[in-house]
Amino acid sequence: MSDDRAIAQYTRAEFDVLRKRLNDARDTLRSGNSLLQSVARAYYIVYVVGSYAAGKQGVKVTHRRAGELVTEQDFSHYEFVDVVWALYTGNKRGNISDPGASPGIRSAHYEEREAYRKASALFEARIEADYGPSTSAEPYTAAEVDRLLETAKYLVEDVERLI
């Protein structure tokens, strides 16, 4: 059975299962020293939690499909940083056409601009992990990777306040 629902439309149970699967994968990869791939899983956790929170808050993006503008909650990975921004600020950015009802995220690990920077770094790490190119299988040290994993953890803790 095909299911093309966006993560924003998942039930809480579906969201919890997906998140657990990604958490387990992140930890397994990290403990096996697959460092950059563990960061990629951590990115996906933030993407999933952010997409689900954005769904709850009514955040919407506008896409052009076959010459028509379509407003929806199917957030692309290229829109991930904009979704994070919308959740932290309650404001539009990029393709976000409706920031929804987010009251913003205050007194959090990150302020809004720092959250955007951190989200961008995670997205870049995921691209590098999955596509490269790189002359080294593990281009970052364990300490650098652990800082990225901590970044993902903090973003999740901030964003899940809105769920």
């Binding site: 028509e68 503008l69 904009d82 393709n95 601009r113 961008s120 770094a121 590098e128 080294s136």
Partner: protein, 93 residues
């Protein structure tokens, strides 16, 4: 929700967007030169996407500056930009 446009409205929108993107691109490139070697710059397939190669050992440090550049141009011009940093050869510091 779907919004349909007439051909004349669509043409005017495209013309306006093109002019805006030209101005945004010029500003973006000028500022990117202060952060990275733009001789490696390539355009992507997703809207207004650029990939620039940076030294592998400097990449993590440069990402916040590239994110700030992206935010600044988006705020000034109201366009959606994606900047990707591709890891290149390391550079001695």
């Amino acid at each position: 929700m779907t919004v349909r446009k007439t051909k004349s409205e669509a043409a005017a929108e495209v013309e306006g967007q093109t002019a805006l993107l030209a101005r945004a691109t010029a500003a973006y490139i000028a500022r990117l030169k202060t952060i990275a070697d733009i001789s490696t710059l390539t355009t992507g397939s997703h809207d207004f996407t650029y990939a620039v190669t940076v030294p592998q050992n400097e990449k993590l440090a440069l990402l916040p500056r590239l994110a700030d550049l992206t935010m600044d141009i988006e705020d000034e011009f109201g366009v959606k930009i994606t900047t990707l940093a591709v890891a290149g050869p390391t550079r001695a510091r």
